[in-house]
Symmetry: D2
Subunit: 401 residues, 4 copies
Amino acid sequence: MDFALPPDLAALEARTAAFVREEVLPFEADPRRTAHGPTDDLRRDLVAKARAAGLLSPHVPKAWGGLGLSHLGKAVVFEAAGYSMLGPIALAIAAPDEGNMHLLAEVASEAQKARYLAPMAAGETRSCFLMTEPHPGAGADPSLLKTTAVKDGDDFVINGLKWLITGAEGAAFAIIMARTLVEGRDVGATMFLADLPAEGVRIVRALDTLDSSFTGGHAEVALETLRVPASDVLGAVGEGFRHAQARLVPARLTHCMRWLGAARRAHDIATDYAGRREAFGGTLLSHEGVGFMLADNEIDLHTTRLVIRHAAWLLDQGEKANVESSMVKVFASEAIFRIVDRSLQVLGGLGMTRDTEVERIFRDVRGFRIYDGPSEVHRWNIARRLARGAAVKALPEGRAA
Amino acid sequence: MDFALPPDLAALEARTAAFVREEVLPFEADPRRTAHGPTDDLRRDLVAKARAAGLLSPHVPKAWGGLGLSHLGKAVVFEAAGYSMLGPIALAIAAPDEGNMHLLAEVASEAQKARYLAPMAAGETRSCFLMTEPHPGAGADPSLLKTTAVKDGDDFVINGLKWLITGAEGAAFAIIMARTLVEGRDVGATMFLADLPAEGVRIVRALDTLDSSFTGGHAEVALETLRVPASDVLGAVGEGFRHAQARLVPARLTHCMRWLGAARRAHDIATDYAGRREAFGGTLLSHEGVGFMLADNEIDLHTTRLVIRHAAWLLDQGEKANVESSMVKVFASEAIFRIVDRSLQVLGGLGMTRDTEVERIFRDVRGFRIYDGPSEVHRWNIARRLARGAAVKALPEGRAA
Amino acid sequence: MDFALPPDLAALEARTAAFVREEVLPFEADPRRTAHGPTDDLRRDLVAKARAAGLLSPHVPKAWGGLGLSHLGKAVVFEAAGYSMLGPIALAIAAPDEGNMHLLAEVASEAQKARYLAPMAAGETRSCFLMTEPHPGAGADPSLLKTTAVKDGDDFVINGLKWLITGAEGAAFAIIMARTLVEGRDVGATMFLADLPAEGVRIVRALDTLDSSFTGGHAEVALETLRVPASDVLGAVGEGFRHAQARLVPARLTHCMRWLGAARRAHDIATDYAGRREAFGGTLLSHEGVGFMLADNEIDLHTTRLVIRHAAWLLDQGEKANVESSMVKVFASEAIFRIVDRSLQVLGGLGMTRDTEVERIFRDVRGFRIYDGPSEVHRWNIARRLARGAAVKALPEGRAA
Amino acid sequence: MDFALPPDLAALEARTAAFVREEVLPFEADPRRTAHGPTDDLRRDLVAKARAAGLLSPHVPKAWGGLGLSHLGKAVVFEAAGYSMLGPIALAIAAPDEGNMHLLAEVASEAQKARYLAPMAAGETRSCFLMTEPHPGAGADPSLLKTTAVKDGDDFVINGLKWLITGAEGAAFAIIMARTLVEGRDVGATMFLADLPAEGVRIVRALDTLDSSFTGGHAEVALETLRVPASDVLGAVGEGFRHAQARLVPARLTHCMRWLGAARRAHDIATDYAGRREAFGGTLLSHEGVGFMLADNEIDLHTTRLVIRHAAWLLDQGEKANVESSMVKVFASEAIFRIVDRSLQVLGGLGMTRDTEVERIFRDVRGFRIYDGPSEVHRWNIARRLARGAAVKALPEGRAA
């Protein structure tokens, strides 16, 4: 076992951290950060900075213009980028684009990659992923999928209602998940690609949400007799859930990575304040009541980083890491929420205001215990594995090595 | 011991609950709810409804136009009103006005009551309380008060910077806390009354904050050579902290009462949804993972209500209940946060959106673990009592009865 | 509402507290406290003290020699008695006797009361309750009852294996729960009375357990062709579960009452120590890290006392309080465990030793989160009520009064 | 970074696990496990098994007969050994011997190593570490050390009272910490070696404690004019605290390692039971209420293992890892307690009995949140580092590699 970072990755981490500090943080005061996320205009300014710094799309295979990072490499760089909520946008590693790029790189045809992946990797376009549906459709339980794609000649005709679609406004294309009917027979879920804007894709409304750091915000999207040629199927017909799985496990981890950076930011702001603010005869940090909270932050940050890196390493070894990634999702999302919540508490009234980034991080991070599977679904996933008697590959024990 | 409500109070509770349900809830979709709180226009519409229903200012002595509720009466009615974030605004029992009215009723001269309390009790005016200061001034530790009032002839001249001043924008008057200097000698803190707007009182900026349900929002306020005649001292010179204490303990409890109503609202929304939403083979509520969360909500609601009512009863018995109110503040603010957080979690993605009130309640309630003394300060208050060997009058034991 | 204790109850509480302090505490060093509980010899010495003090069997109807306390009265007196693990034994209000006396008073015939209740109320005898069975029989789920009682002429013949039977060793009689077969037909569960020792009742072994404060310890008991006449049916044939319910709800509360006293004891020991022990520049109590723990104890003690007294009052009003008692069981058992765990932590190494009573209380109290229904079963009970849409009568609201 | 175990270490882990399963578990029913720990007779039987299996003293340098494991190697092997509370005793890696051997290997002269380390590494002898004192002496705060060693010619004369001295009964020698006075001047704390039994070392009493798995139990030990020659100083005069530090950090980690194995054992027992025991319509494990608890166990086990191995690796890199080991101590001791507590809860009534090892593990593990520094002291250690502005080397970031 070796916990040391390879020097090149360490250097890339340092470079990313410096980039965020020097180039990204100044944008945090930019009025183009709206209640529905940064504008595309702001996004382009940020991307230009990352491009100039040679840090754009580090997760994308080199063939498509990225740095070709391993999962472990992503763990390190994404955390550094996440130190500002704008960092992942600058590097083009924000959700849902990052996961979509990963999916395209894994599943798309070469023609599809050229058409969709290349410009997105270059920071020119954005995308969205149309899976979630409002009640009574597919939420945490994807089997409830209500949207249908009916085979009609060489095309598919898609109808349905999607919801909480991040980045729909302004996206250049959509990946759409639909239950597929071929000659009246349900052949399973399929993923489709569709350029946007498109006839048949209507943004019903922008949703007002607790968070506000995703470019394009979140929307309700109606699919109304959207016609898609068979060539725009992503992967194979009926394999939508399998492909989704290929997207989900790594996407789950990259969320953890980025949020860990944001949690560190909140903690650093709180620690800095606690070291200066006087009350009751000393700095806040000199009081055990505050010091213990920040100590717990340190512990949560440390353990979270370790479990993320371990899971990333597992993926790099070719493991599916389904249950392991559930463990990381639960632990990281809850630990990170605790860190941010404590940081806000340490700041007191100041934490309630937008005078520091902590207020925003607090709002933004709450959803992380919900999306990509709420903690409850992941706990159940882990428990089912126990029920099957299968050993959770929690850590490399002898038998695993 | 008797846990039953007297019939008249039960009837008033039912009337308040019906009023909120029928008259207040429809206003929740009103666009006049801004990021800096409901507008005064919206407030006046709400107040008119409460006035018509005979529910305005239930906490104010009858002599000044209210219903003259006891503390226990407030515990019951304020919870019912708090079921909507707009309810307390309608009844004129929202912070900081409610606490200010209590303070005026306790401390003000009759002339001051006629001038300030009467119109506020009638729902015509609003007020603000200028105590908190930015770093390095008075936050959780009021002894760090930096604002000064210098005796100058028959007047006092006040200078200082205040911060997180709720409702300053649009308030008809301010209560100002300042360190008082008479002939160069610091004679302690004093409270002053000042009509607004006033020369010498400048709203530096509206603060962007996590919460958005206080009328007038929160502001930074500069006091610049504000001249106040001695007749506008509230209470006695040098007695500011003692008067603040008279305000703080009851105000702490009324916060708990209102928030308890809001927590019930979040819980009801979540329970209703969990009983309808299907996932993984049954309703959410049929899953232990969700059912246990809602069961914990029930437990937290129940215990919180009991401790609030007990402390209110203590005040009605003439007890100071300083430590007891600290216990209630810690328990209630943390239990209520848990309730709202669980409610949001049960709602899943829906909870992240403004499609239900839970998103707003979640944002609004976070500050409650901070204002009126963060949990840490109250825990320390309780611990110090233990250190002094004084029994905490936690519950009527024999020796107390 | 009125939270004040009536003066007579307050006086009885004070008398009980003084009795425990002066008469019971000295017995805590008695070597007759064995790993399987106090000996009957020690029990008799304690009972003699309570009898002399006029405090024996306060819960028993006056007609049967007790003080005829209401449920609320029990809440007050049992807590005072629980301040020592030996207090309830002295007053003859320890489990399972106290619950059994309640059951007999409610359900038994007059002849049965004279034979079983009277000597137990007089502190002369002890009893046991044979319900729980080892895997795969009835544990938390009583419907899995495996023990059978087969009607044979005027008798019933009982066979089965019982487990975790508190006080079996040395008990004068047993109440036995068995699935009843009449002419081959299962007519439901029935309760039977049986004098001990009896042919057909064999104590297989004393169980070594974490706790050690129940007289007679816990045993595994085999029922081997035990013949019981029909006149020894307790209540009605087939009504065993209904009768058990009549026992369970109050018994659940009396556990909470006694344990609350024990938790106060642990807290008092820890607070006293923390106020004397020096470390890192001050007493432990002067450190926020310790002070906050003890403050949380105070809060937990206070809220627990309130919810217990409220539920007792509900029972006194004739309510069944099934769900309410579940709420109290969950809250009290978990809060009390936290209190004791924190008290032990504050004591540090000393807490690990039998030099204070905290070590014993910690061992003894752990089971309380399990017996009388583990927290999980009670949470589910509460959740099911929510699923049925029935309002939990958590507190007297107007509609309840 | 590489999370894979090297094959030789994986093989040793597997061998240790098999040894515990096949050779050690059968001893768990041995009556020589007393309330004051396993007898030395039982210990010798266990050691003989480990010796035969080639697993004795794996942590000791090869020169002194051990396997010369690195810290990381210890993390792996000690966890496997800890799967039974008797495993570490068999391998001679239990506290306090393991830490004492480490200390001797680091600090002792060659003559001292030959005399004390060699026979202990061979499993022939045991030792004790006399540091902790009763109130008002040195507990969590070692600076309160009251025991004195007064230079008298070439000897030191030691007087004092020690407490909670693990393994004192039956130990072959003691390491004694005492404040040292040379010609009336306090020259700091010094460590001394003393053969046992010795005139001047009196075991006042065996302490009755919550735990019962340390050989020799815990004792109160009086040092009464114990005369020690200067040649028996361990390390240097006045360097006692520095030497203690060299012992403490690794010893803290080895506690975590062993306890992690015990926690896995408790979890495995609970999981096995939950998969078989039926209640309320399915196995316990099929209920989310239980499944979630076991899922949380998996998460806690996984994260704990990772932070332990990382800290061990840091030590192997030559880092002092003072704050890092504090983080591990807090996290591991609290996570492990949660695991064991949940395991007991899942077992229900069975968990309360000695019919499984969980009851013992629960008792034994509680002290781990206290000894080697209670959580509160370690949290403060972490907070102080933050206050000094020093970065916690929580994980290898670029700058660390």
